[in-house]
C-alpha cells in the first residue's frame, strides 16, 4: 500500500493488546462517497471549440484530392450527400479574403430525373432521432433526479436530523471491516434500492470531527435511487462538486474536497 505506513507497521511488530481505538480516542465511522458518473461527454465551448474548427479546416484545405469516383457510385444518394456537404464547406475560409478561391460547385449535372426524386425519400427515411443533452430534470432543477447534469459527476448528500448536509456515514460494528460497515450504513441511511459498485477495501478520504472520524469509501451507483425515510436521513440530493461545496459547512468541505472530481 503506502510504503511509509507499511514499513511503520512492520517495524512495530506484534502488539499484544491490539484493540480498537488504542492510540487515539476517536470512534471510527464508515461513510460512502457515492457518485453517479457522467453519462454524456463534455462539450467544448468558446475558444477551444473555435480553435478545433480552425485546425480541422486547415487539415481539410491541405488534404489530398478526394478520389470521388473511387468512393462513390455515379448518381448514388451517398454521392449526393457528399456533394451537398462539399458545397456547404466551400464558404468556410479563415485566411485573407483576397486569397479565397472562387466557388466551384462539385455537383454533377443530374442526368436521370427519376433517380433524384427517389433519393430524397431515401434520405428522409434514414434520419436518426437524437436525444437532447439537457433533460427534463435539468429544466425543472430536480436535485433528487439522477438524470440531471448528465455531463457532470453527481455525489449523494444526506441531510441529518440537525439539518446539516453531509456524505452518508454510519457506525462500525465490532467484527466488521470498513467496506462492509460503509455498505451497511448506506443501506440503512438511504434504502436498499441501489445497485452500487464499491471501489477497493479502503478509504479515499476522511473527516475528523472531535470524537468521531468518518472514513469514506468510494462507490459508483449503477442503477436505482436513494430513499430518505426520515429515520437516519431527513432528505437527500444528488449534487455536483460546486453544489456540494455550497451545501456543506466550510470546514467539512475543507476536509473532504480532495476526494471530489472537478468534472
Amino acid at each position: 500500500m503506502f510504503r511509509r505506513s507499511v514499513v511503520a507497521t512492520l517495524g512495530q511488530g506484534v502488539r499484544l493488546f491490539a484493540t480498537s481505538s488504542v492510540v487515539r480516542n476517536t470512534s471510527v465511522r464508515a461513510g460512502v462517497l457515492l457518485q453517479r458518473d457522467p453519462i454524456i461527454t463534455q462539450q467544448t465551448s468558446g475558444f477551444e471549440a473555435a480553435s478545433d474548427r480552425y485546425f480541422e479546416w486547415l487539415h481539410y484545405i491541405s488534404a489530398e484530392k478526394f478520389p470521388r469516383d473511387f468512393f462513390f457510385k455515379k448518381g448514388s444518394s451517398a454521392e449526393a450527400k457528399w456533394m451537398e456537404l462539399e458545397d456547404m464547406r466551400a464558404s468556410e475560409w479563415y485566411f485573407d479574403k483576397s486569397s479565397k478561391p472562387e466557388f466551384k460547385s462539385v455537383k454533377r449535372a443530374v442526368v436521370d430525373e427519376d433517380a433524384e426524386a427517389g433519393d430524397v425519400d431515401e434520405v428522409v427515411s434514414r434520419t436518426i432521432e437524437v436525444q437532447p443533452r439537457e433533460t427534463e430534470a435539468d429544466k425543472k432543477g430536480d436535485v433528487k433526479s439522477l438524470e440531471r447534469k448528465l455531463d457532470r459527476t453527481l455525489y449523494l448528500l444526506v441531510k441529518d436530523s440537525d439539518g446539516k448536509w453531509e456524505l452518508p456515514a454510519g457506525t462500525v460494528a465490532e467484527d466488521e471491516v470498513l467496506l462492509d460497515a460503509a455498505k451497511r450504513s448506506l443501506k440503512e441511511t438511504c434504502g436498499g434500492r441501489m445497485s452500487v459498485w464499491m471501489v477497493g477495501n479502503g478509504p479515499v478520504g476522511h473527516r475528523e470531527a472531535g470524537a468521531n472520524t468518518a472514513f469514506f469509501v468510494k462507490g459508483h451507483i449503477l442503477a436505482g435511487q436513494a430513499v430518505a425515510d426520515g429515520k437516519l436521513a431527513q432528505d437527500f440530493k444528488w449534487a455536483t462538486r460546486e453544489e456540494v461545496e455550497a451545501a456543506v459547512s466550510s470546514d467539512y468541505w475543507q476536509s473532504v474536497k480532495g476526494m471530489f472530481s472537478s468534472v
Binding site: S5, A18, S20, T41, D96, G202, V204, H220, A223, M259
Partner: protein, 194 residues
Amino acid sequence: MKYNEGIYGGPALEELKQLYGTEWHRNSTDSWYFYKRLGIISLIKGVPKHKTLSTRTHTGIGRATAASRGAAKRAKAASRGAPSHLSSDPRYEAMKQIMFQEEPRTTPQLTEEDLERHQTILRADMVVKMKASRARREERENKYAAMEAAYEALEKADERLFKAACVRDANVVFPRQMRVPTETPPTKIWDYLK
C-alpha cells in the same frame, strides 16, 4: 521452398526449372502448389500464367484447352505485357490512378497576417491545453493525498480496520453497467429499479 533460394543450400526452384524444365515436379503433389505459386510470381513479373507452363504437365493440359478458347485475346494482352484476366475489372484502373496520381498535394499559401493569426491561435491553443493538463494533474494529486491521509489516520485510529483496508483483492474487474459516456444520452437514461 522459395523460388530464388533453395532449402538446405539445395538448388532453387528457378534453377531447377531452368536446368530440367518442368519435368522434375511432375509426379509430386507439389505440382498443384507450384502452379498456384507460379501464378503469383507470374503476376508480379507481368507474364501470363499459361506461357510459363509446358502443355505436357498434368495441370498444363487442362489449362491449355481453356486458354485456346480465348487465345487471341490473351495473346493480345500478353503482347502488352499485362495479365489479361485483370484488365476487365475497372477498380484496378481506379486503384492505379489513386496510387500514382499526377496531381501533388498543394500546401496553403499564407500571407504575413495569416501566418501571424495562425501562430497566435496555435500559441493560445497550447496555453489552454497546458492549463487543462495541469488542472487534471492537480486533481489527481489531491485525490491521492486525501487517500494517503485517510490511510494514515485509519492506522492511528484502528489497527484492525487498517489491516483489512490494506488487503488487495485479486482479479478486480469493472462492472459491465459502467457505460462509457456518449455525446448524447440514451432514450432510457437511468434505470430506477422499480
